[in-house]
C-alpha cells in the first residue's frame, strides 16, 4: 500500500511539473515585449536594458525556467505589474475569500441535494419526483454567470435586500454561493437519488427493516452514512468545474477572490500575476486530487488491489 501512495505522489509531482512547464512556455513564447507593454514607448535605451535585466529577460530560456522553478519552490512568484505588489502577497490576500465562497457553496449544495435527492427517491416516479428532476435539468442548462446577473437584478436592484457587489460581510457571499451551488445541485441530486436506490438494496437494510426500524430513520441515519464516501467522490470530481465557475462568478459579483484576481490579471495582461495564479491553482488542485486518492486507500481497501 505504501508503494501505491508513493506512486500516486510521484505521479502527482510529475503532473504538476508538466502543467508548470506548459504554463511557463505559454507565457514566455509570447511574441511581444512585456517591458514595452508595461512602460510604453518613451523609455531611454539604458532604462530599457535595465528593466530587462531586472526581469531577467536577457537570460537564456533555460535559466529563466530554472529561476521560475526555484521561485515556485521558495514561494517567490514574481511581482505583479499592475498591482505593484509581490504575487505571493496578493494570492495570500485574496485566497481566504475564495475558500469562504467554495465552502459555503458546498454547504448549500450538499444539504439541498441530500434533501432533494431523498425526497426524489422516496417519491420515485410521482409528480414531485418529476418536478425535481425537471428543475434539475433546467438548472443544469443555465449559464451560471447569467444566473448571477439575474440574482443581482432581483435581489439587489428590485428587492434591495442584498448587496450587488463586494466581498465584505456575510451578505455578499449569499448570492455568489447560490449561483454556484445551483450548478452543482442537479448533478448531486441525480447521483444521490441513484445511490440511495442502490444502497437500499443491500442486506443491512433488510436486517434493519426486519427489526422494525422506521423507514425514515433507515434512510436518514443509516443509508446517509453510507452515502458520505460516494458523495465525496463525486464532489471531488466536480471540484474542477466548481473552481472554474467560481472564477466567473467572482467576476460577476466583484467578489475579491482568487478567481477575480485571475480574470483581472488576464484582462490587464499582467503576466507575472497570471503566471502566479496558474501555478498556484494548478498545484492546489492536483494536490487535492492526490490527497483524495490517497484518502481512498484508507477508506476503501478494495482500491489498492485494483490498481
Amino acid at each position: 500500500m505504501t508503494k501505491y501512495i508513493f506512486k500516486r505522489i510521484l505521479y502527482g509531482i510529475v503532473t504538476i511539473f508538466i502543467v508548470l512547464t506548459i504554463a511557463f512556455l505559454i507565457l514566455h513564447i509570447i511574441p511581444g515585449d512585456p517591458v514595452k507593454a508595461l512602460t510604453g514607448i518613451f523609455l531611454t535605451e539604458e532604462a530599457y536594458q535595465r528593466m530587462r535585466e531586472t526581469f531577467g529577460l536577457n537570460d537564456p530560456l533555460m535559466i529563466q525556467y530554472l529561476n521560475y522553478i526555484k521561485g515556485i519552490v521558495t514561494g517567490h512568484l514574481g511581482h505583479s505589474l499592475r498591482q505593484k505588489q509581490p504575487v505571493t502577497i496578493l494570492l495570500i490576500q485574496y485566497l481566504p475569500n475564495t475558500i469562504k465562497l467554495v465552502a459555503f457553496t458546498l454547504l448549500i449544495a450538499v444539504v439541498s441535494s441530500i434533501l432533494l435527492g431523498v425526497a426524489s427517491y422516496k417519491k420515485k416516479g410521482t409528480f414531485i419526483d418529476r418536478i425535481i428532476l425537471f428543475f434539475t435539468m433546467t438548472f443544469q442548462s443555465l449559464p451560471n454567470f447569467w444566473l448571477g446577473v439575474i440574482f443581482i437584478l432581483f435581489f439587489a436592484v428590485e428587492l434591495k435586500i442584498l448587496p450587488p457587489l463586494g466581498s465584505k460581510g456575510f451578505k455578499t457571499i449569499i448570492m455568489p454561493s447560490f449561483a454556484l451551488a445551483l450548478g452543482l445541485i442537479p448533478v448531486l441530486v441525480r447521483f444521490i437519488r441513484y445511490k440511495i436506490g442502490e444502497i437500499m438494496m443491500e442486506e443491512f437494510v433488510l436486517s434493519l427493516r426486519s427489526r422494525g426500524i422506521r423507514e425514515n430513520i433507515i434512510i436518514y441515519k443509516h443509508v446517509l452514512k453510507n452515502i458520505t464516501i460516494p458523495l465525496i467522490t463525486i464532489i471531488s470530481q466536480q471540484l474542477g468545474n466548481l473552481l472554474a465557475g467560481a472564477f466567473i462568478i467572482e467576476r460577476v459579483f466583484n467578489y475579491k477572490g482568487i478567481g477575480f484576481l485571475g480574470i483581472m490579471a488576464a484582462t490587464d495582461r499582467d503576466y507575472p500575476l497570471l503566471q502566479g495564479i496558474v501555478v498556484f491553482v494548478a498545484i492546489i488542485f492536483i494536490s487535492i486530487n492526490i490527497i483524495t486518492d490517497i484518502f481512498y486507500t484508507f477508506i476503501d481497501p478494495r482500491v489498492k488491489y485494483t490498481r
Partner: protein
C-alpha cells in the same frame, strides 16, 4: 458491490396509486422519445434559424448606434416601440439584432470548436483503444488530466498571451472538450474490437486504417450525436462566459456573452440588456440538452 435484493416488498406500506390520465399523466410519466426529439428540434430551430438567416432578415445593423435613443425598453413596456422589439442598448443599438448577430458569432466559434474537437477526439480515442499499449496509456493520462483540470486556468493563460482572434477562441474551446470524445470512443472501440465483425475483417487482411474508418467509426454516429448536442450547449455557454469577462469576442462585435457583460453595468436602468441574451442562451441550451437526452433512450 454486495448482491442484495429489493426488500421493500416485505414492508406493509399503504400504497397510494394515483390514477394516471390526461395532462397529469403527461407530466408524471414524461414524454415519449419521438415527441421529445421533435420538441427539442423545434426549440433549437426556433433559435437557430433566425440566427443563421440574420443577414437576410432585414433587421438593423447591430453596430448602428443611435445616441438619441439609448436604453429604450422592449416594445411591451412604456417607452418601447415596435421599431426595436427588444429595446436598445446603452449605445442605442437594437438589442434583438445584436442578439441575433451575436448568436451567429457564438455559433461559428462553438460550432468550429465542436467539429475540430469531435474529429480530433474521436480519432485519438479510436487510435488509443485500437492500438493499446504505451500509446493508450499516454493518451489515457492526457484525457484524465484534461477532464479533471479546470480548463479555465489554461484558457486565461492562452487568451492573455495570444491575440484574441476567432482561431484562438476556437482553439481554447477545443482544448476544453476534446477529451470527452476521446474517452467515450476509446471505450467503444475497446468493446467493438472484440466483436466478430472486426476480427473477421482482420482475418481477411484488411489494413488497420480501413478497419478504423470503415467499420468502427460508422457504428458510433448515434453516440456522437448524443455527445455533440450536449457539447454544443456547453461550448456556446463557455464562449459566452469567456466573452462575458472580456476575453472573447470584442465589442463592438456582438456575442451573447459580451452583451451580458457590457450590459451588466446598466442593470438598474436597462435590465433587458443583460437579461435577453441569457434567455436565448437558456432556450438553446435547454433544447440541445433535451435533444441529447431523448436521443439517448
Amino acid at each position: 458491490m454486495v448482491e442484495g435484493m429489493d426488500t421493500s416488498k416485505y414492508i406493509d406500506k399503504n400504497f397510494k396509486r394515483r390514477k394516471l390520465f390526461g395532462p397529469y399523466r403527461l407530466i408524471s410519466k414524461g414524454l415519449s422519445k419521438k415527441v421529445s426529439v421533435l420538441i427539442a428540434i423545434f426549440i433549437i430551430a426556433v433559435i437557430i434559424i433566425p440566427i443563421l438567416f440574420a443577414p437576410f432578415l432585414g433587421i438593423q445593423d447591430p453596430t448602428l448606434q443611435g445616441l438619441e435613443k439609448i436604453n429604450t425598453p422592449p416594445f411591451w413596456m412604456d417607452g418601447g416601440s415596435r421599431e426595436h422589439i427588444l429595446g436598445t442598448d446603452f449605445l442605442g443599438r437594437d438589442l434583438l439584432s445584436r442578439i441575433l448577430y451575436g448568436g451567429r458569432n457564438s455559433l461559428i466559434i462553438a460550432g468550429g470548436a465542436l467539429i475540430i474537437s469531435l474529429s480530433f477526439g474521436t480519432l485519438l480515442g479510436t487510435i488509443s483503444g485500437h492500438f493499446g499499449g504505451k500509446i493508450d496509456t499516454i493518451i489515457q493520462r492526457l484525457i484524465e488530466l484534461q477532464i479533471a483540470f479546470p480548463f479555465i486556468i489554461l484558457a486565461l493563460a492562452i487568451l492573455t498571451v495570444f491575440p484574441i482572434k476567432i482561431t484562438t477562441l476556437i482553439f481554447v474551446l477545443f482544448l476544453s472538450t476534446w477529451a470527452a470524445y476521446a474517452r467515450t470512443f476509446r471505450g467503444i472501440v475497446l468493446v467493438e474490437t472484440k466483436k466478430l465483425y472486426i476480427l473477421g475483417a482482420k482475418a481477411i487482411g484488411e489494413p488497420e486504417i480501413v478497419i478504423i474508418f470503415k467499420y468502427l467509426l460508422r457504428n458510433i454516429i448515434p453516440t456522437i450525436l448524443v455527445l455533440a448536442s450536449v457539447d454544443l450547449a456547453f461550448l456556446i455557454t463557455m464562449e459566452a462566459a469567456i466573452s462575458f469577462v472580456g476575453l472573447g469576442i470584442q465589442p463592438p462585435a456582438p456575442s451573447w456573452g459580451n452583451i451580458i457583460g457590457e450590459g451588466k453595468k446598466y442593470i438598474d436602468i436597462a435590465w433587458w440588456i443583460p437579461t435577453m441574451p441569457g434567455i436565448f442562451l437558456i432556450l438553446l441550451t435547454f433544447g440541445l440538452n433535451l435533444l441529447s437526452d431523448s436521443l439517448e433512450k
